[in-house]
Point group: D2
């Protein structure tokens, strides 16, 4: 699991006075990229990438400007040709968001799904 | 159903060369607000509002800058205290997104769900 | 001059109840790309592009959700190796924004500025 | 001066492969709010606020995903009824952005500018 903290931006609020729902999609993406694109140990095979196929976001409570955000991102399942990533977002210990992303492992030449195997699979199962 | 068309913005693309996944959340929100906040015939009761509880987005195909976007937004279900909104997004007749939003009808004083009844219910069932 | 109209998005507002200042940067960019990237008659030379060097935005009045935006974008000056683009943004006939963008014409191989000449110059002077 | 560091988000890039110009407006705003809204010692008078009147952004170099951003924000001038804020943005020690924001100190009831005086003035001059 990767835990990150940051300050929400004022432009991420909306006229209802709270964090706008769209902002959470950006925060969830940030957790995913920290997991899959920025870890030196997570090496994808050549001409391969994880492509977002489905995002499910549950909005559990309102978030606010002026309060540190904590995101927790982990791989919740490694399927044959896909992975599931779970994202939890908190402010002051209160959970705001529970989200699930499904990413398909794609061969970028043939544009078709390919199996997650070998070292990559072991590593993802351990995150 | 409400159909809207607009041009994607260059800032909505990302370094993979296509429309970034977060941009779709904004486009889906725009369809919801066109349905619920901008139609003069959709009048919510005093101190009441629809609050987003869940968003599910299926990414079916890549979207690109330089090509008109069409969004189709409709109420797919009127529940006891909630509604489901379906959003489809197209470019050149190809469907990029199929999304479902669940919004709960909330009494803003008590912060608790309230039934969707009467004229509002009839109207939403007909959209 | 290119004139465009669109609806502001709810996610473009902020907790002060009006359109957030960052949203205008996106709207100004949209006007620039409509002028430089989407007109079939504006053809840049091979391996060349206009690169944003400076943006100056004057915020004249508050903008609001629920009210159509009109943007007016024109080339205000064609310099030796750069162009100036002026952007005006209105709601209900009231001017919200007056902005100026300076873009440098760049040779993408050498990464250095190059002169705006010939047909491109004539066309830009006439927009 | 306030110095902050954070990771750029993938959704802040664009199809040219670098950080999109609009993203910098959000980063500049974040520095301003850290200075004016989040410091417990910066107390505005009742019914008063700083309102953005002008933003000038110089784009000095391209920014990229995958590289920590450092922002430096300071008050560069305290005028009679306004302040100037300077923002510098770096990646790997290379300056990407030099920006200047002019904010007017406004009486929120009369909507007119008011003098920056007393303790607030002294504090802002020292930041």
């Amino acid at each position: 699991m990767i835990t990150e903290t940051f300050k929400p931006r004022f432009c991420e609020t909306d006229a209802l006075g709270h964090i706008n729902n769209v902002s959470y999609s950006a925060w969830i993406e940030q957790g995913r990229t920290s997991l899959l694109m920025e870890r030196p140990d997570v090496e994808l095979e050549a001409n391969s990438n994880f492509v977002l196929a489905k995002l499910e976001v549950n909005y559990l409570a309102e978030g606010f400007f002026g309060c540190i955000v904590e995101t927790q991102t982990c791989v919740s399942k490694v399927g044959t040709t896909s992975i599931h990533i779970n994202s939890k977002i908190y402010q002051n210990g209160k959970q705001l968001i529970d989200a699930s992303s499904i990413l398909v492992y794609i061969d970028l030449i043939s544009k078709s799904p390919k199996p997650v195997t070998g070292e990559l699979r072991k590593l993802l199962e351990a995150i």
